[in-house]
């Protein structure tokens, strides 16, 4: 019976060791991304197989773009707040609302232009094939109409009925 217990427990231990080896090997790349200081950029390096030099260039571009992005966020939020205030005050489309909508559209165009410019620069710092793949993916995530509707142009204001 002792030998039988040895086989039973040995089998279970072997299964646990096999599980741990495969799991740790399979998630090692993810763990290294997770432990990096900029996980989203480390993921970009891994996904698009960037060399260290290319990665450094992408990071530089990203760092240069970040303040512009934050500024655009502030502009969007300010315009949305203004629009919400105007919408809450009336139940007809006033010239002020029209003006705010035009300005919101202008900000959106400006944001999209800046985003595209950044995406092209990032793609150019990648190997050509990976750059194309990156552009396809990032544009599908940001500039598709369905994605563009998710942004700050939405308001909480509901139409006031007379």
């Amino acid at each position: 019976m002792k030998r039988t217990w040895l086989i039973i427990i040995g089998g279970l231990v072997l299964a646990a060791v096999g599980y741990a080896c495969i799991y740790l090997h399979g998630t090692s790349a993810q763990r290294s991304v997770e432990h990096s200081s900029r996980p989203e950029l480390a993921w970009l390096q891994k996904e698009y197989r960037l060399s260290d030099a290319q990665y450094a260039q992408v990071m530089e571009l990203h760092n240069a773009y970040a303040p512009k992005c934050e500024e655009m966020c502030r502009m969007i939020d300010a315009k949305n707040a203004q629009l919400q205030k105007l919408l809450a005050a009336t139940n007809v489309v006033t010239p002020e609302i029209n003006q705010a909508l035009v300005e919101a559209a202008g900000i959106r165009a400006e944001c999209e232009s800046a985003m595209l410019d950044h995406f092209y620069k990032v793609a150019q710092s990648m190997p050509p094939e990976q750059g194309r793949r990156y552009l396809d993916w990032v544009q599908s995530q940001t500039l598709r109409p369905s994605k563009m509707m998710l942004g700050g142009a939405t308001t909480n204001a509901s139409p006031r009925m007379p």
Partner: protein, 113 residues
């Protein structure tokens, strides 16, 4: 209904029994034989289901082919579950980092405080 105590009718018998004394001695090794009979009777009792299963497993694992199959199957089960969970974890992480990257470049999807 009138009831009668049966011991009332057995008064003579009771008296005889009270006077009865066993004078013959026990056969040799009587106690040992009694214990042996008890042990034999207990050995004849049916085994519990757990004992039967353990005995069956023990017998099965005496065959090397079966023992090897058991260990191999468990090893592959461990490897399979490890692979599947690693894939799942990788997919979840990738999805998270993709979303984080998009949020970091798209002001319309950036998280608002």
């Amino acid at each position: 209904m009138k009831t009668t105590n049966p011991s009332d009718h057995d008064q003579p018998l009771n008296e005889v029994l009270a006077q009865w004394k066993v004078e013959s001695s026990l056969p040799p090794r009587f106690r040992e034989q009694v214990w042996r009979r008890i042990e034999t009777a207990e050995a004849r009792k049916p085994e519990g289901s757990l004992t039967v299963v353990l005995r069956w497993i023990d017998a099965a694992f005496r065959r090397p082919a079966l023992a090897l199959s058991y260990v191999t199957v468990l090893l592959f089960v461990g490897l399979g579950i490890g692979y599947w969970q690693a894939q799942d974890k990788t997919a979840q992480s990738e999805s998270k980092w993709q979303a984080r990257y998009v949020q970091s470049v798209d002001p319309y999807q950036a998280p608002r405080n």
